[in-house]
Assembly symmetry: C3
Homo-oligomer: 325 residues x 3
């Protein structure tokens, strides 16, 4: 899928990459097309390996050019060309910025303006709505007062967007509602801590499915390299925070004030009670029920019910707390 939100440079060659990383040039200066995760990369894209979690993918990736560190040198098939660096993610960050020069620009869209209702089919428009260039809006939609839709955002049919909403870098399906005060598509909270924190580029989008509801004052950050995804039929209550790269499945019900740390993946038909928190990089299966206030810190298999901080099987939780529940 083409990145419609961030312009990619199409003139990057291997020596541009090596130069960015302060490495020695090579003789044959071949073109590199894009930077992608292992499972998404094509043969002319550069990809990377930084964690044992992805050792399975390194065998399957189409990419022939892999950035990694000393630790994983031997895990990479000999057919691949390897670029060894001390800090893989920092190098990925540098290269993402090389391919996508605007990826660190997080300013508001200053090219938005007032549009007329008849610019789109049967659009109902509030007062003081600002719409960016090249925004696509399907038929029968409404945009509430003071709402801002930044450039290139795509909204399907029959969507209702509330008041005081900010949407950027987002693609929305049909019949989806986004309620007042939600902020969708800003960059994730990713950076390299240090003497001066270095911001991580975020070229991913937020992809919201059909028949979704996003509650008031929610914040949903866009992905870094991949996308943040909210599946069809999923309903989110108010004041929910969804960090970058989180994938939520279909028909989930997420209650107020729940928070998701970055890169976790949630299955279908998952129900999560109010104020629960899901740590980063976890895998929650299908049909999981997570009790209110739980703190989930490890993977949860499908069809489980958990509760507690840290979250555990709900029967064990109830048994341990039987005098107080």
């Amino acid at each position: 899928m083409k990145n419609i939100f961030f312009k990619k440079r199409n003139d990057i060659k291997i020596n541009d990459i090596l130069k960015s990383l302060n490495l020695r040039k090579q003789k044959k200066n071949i073109r590199v097309y894009d930077i992608k995760e292992l499972d998404k990369a094509q043969k002319n894209d550069i990809s990377f390996l930084h964690s044992p979690k992805y050792l399975g993918l390194i065998k399957k990736t189409n990419s022939n050019l892999i950035i990694t560190n000393k630790k994983f040198l031997k895990s990479i098939p000999k057919t691949k060309k390897i670029i060894e660096v001390p800090n893989v993610l920092l190098s990925v960050s540098v290269l993402t910025n090389l391919f996508y020069p605007e990826s660190l620009n997080e300013n508001f869209d200053s090219n938005v303006g007032h549009v007329k209702e008849n610019k789109f089919i049967k659009l109902k428009l509030g007062k003081n709505v600002l719409v960016g260039k090249n925004v696509k809006i399907g038929k029968n939609c409404s945009l509430g007062h003071n709402t801002i839709i930044e450039q290139n955002v795509v909204i399907g049919d029959n969507c209702n967007i509330g008041c005081n909403v900010v949407i950027k870098n987002t693609i929305i399906g049909n019949n989806t509602n986004i309620l007042d005060g939600a902020v969708i598509g800003k960059k994730g909270f990713g950076f390299f801590p240090g003497v001066k924190n270095i911001r991580y580029p975020h070229i991913g989008a937020v992809i919201i499915g059909d028949n979704v509801e996003i509650g008031c004052n929610n914040t949903i950050d866009r992905g870094s390299l991949s996308n943040t995804i909210i599946g069809d039929g999923t309903f989110l209550d108010n004041q929910i925070h969804i960090a970058h790269n989180v994938k939520i499945g279909k028909n989930c019900i997420i209650t107020g004030q729940v928070g998701f740390a970055g890169s976790s993946s949630i299955g279908n038909n998952v129900m999560i009670g109010g104020q629960a928190g899901i740590s980063g990089h976890l895998k929650i299966g299908d049909n999981v029920k997570i009790g209110g206030g739980s703190g989930v810190v490890k993977d949860i298999p499908s069809n489980s019910k958990v509760m507690g901080y840290p979250a555990k099987n709900i029967r064990i939780f109830l048994k341990e707390n039987k005098s107080n529940v």
Copy 2:
């Protein structure tokens, strides 16, 4: 009390009801006035019984027409007419929508507009304020920049509403402050989960008393059939979420990021520490103190102090955790 936010049809007869529920017509097609909860219903209103919690009320209700399921058939006094359905709340939802045809319309109010300060007595008006039709505002009030007050909202005397606030379906007393970014009166997060989530109609209001303070970025949802209520003198800090049908008493102090699930009832003079969560359908007594971060999952009697997740008597909590508090 008349519903000033949602128009009621006054031509509904029993056979309209039976038809909506796919049930057989009856010969005598009497008029039914409204749909109400057991304790609010008058003799010509339809009401419903779906939980053993309400077995006490079924004996006292004035309603002569009760929707219930097989399980409760025998609990209903023989003087009442019964409509038996498989899923009581789903039928109530269908009928609410029958009586109140706009109850599922959650769009922003497109008839708001700029008003002049002299439309109301000693009103102080920010820039870009939008006020709907038939809004009532008492004397000496202020409405901050970019704030939206939707149709039929009632605001008492000496109220200060901040900036970027959205208020709909709400009645506010005197001397009450609502701070920046609060969203008050949207429909609750109630629906019937299923292949496609069915939205529950919300015809209730938010009723806010005198001398109340509602903090920044709070979200307070309106009730489904009954109202969400915030009592006189109650102060809410920032980022609090109050779900539909919650009743909070007088002179309560609720600290930042607390969340209330639907239909819980909180007494007077209750103090709740930051980030605590109150599950749904609970009864919290008067003068209760709930420690910060607590997860309350059962009723709390008056004059208790609780803390913990799940919340327990605070002395027990402190004893169990004495090395860490």
Copy 3:
């Protein structure tokens, strides 16, 4: 440092103070310059002692005029003049209001207006931005759509302020970003509970350093007598709440939905996981790591790692929960 946000009366004499507190006048009606905390007060300022926590400071303070209650009478050096009152903080509140007559006025700034980009150096201005009187903005800044900057606010160079932001009573350094929907500088949630809650005056500011990032929909309250402070290089994720008088050090990383109760002090290089809560009046040292969802209820020494509710040493937490983490 002069208070640029609240006008101070310069004509207050000791007998004005005594009269405000319903105490008997004295013969020599000397001038009192200001009301300050013990460590900030100069010799002609009035200060106060209300807690054993500050017994160390009472020996060092420059102030010669101390309000206290019966309990601390003997702890105060004999060189000081003492004003004895039943409720110290209530008296401090009365006197703050005497010195700063607008300290309880929390209305929005009605003197804001549209400005031209060329009023400041290389300013990038969104639509519908409102800027108050005497606001200072450095070079190369941007202010997003619908954002409100109230009177006297100071913003340094290269700062990016997002959309729908409200900033009042705040001083911001250089290279700092404030994201969409943040509300910064409103009064803290401080008051005296009682038959009618009495609001505590808040004449402090919010001081934000250089290279800071404040996330979407954050709420940061200003201080009561002292300031709320966010140190250089500190990054805050979305939906964080920071209460009045909190001091956060340099280069801290605070993840989504964390909450800080009033008057706590956080060291440098502290990392706090999502949804953790920090109780009031605590001292968290440098280089502390606090796990997500933790509830911190006591001081944490430097270089510690804690997790849990209540928070404890992380090794103990992990050991106690080893089957669930």
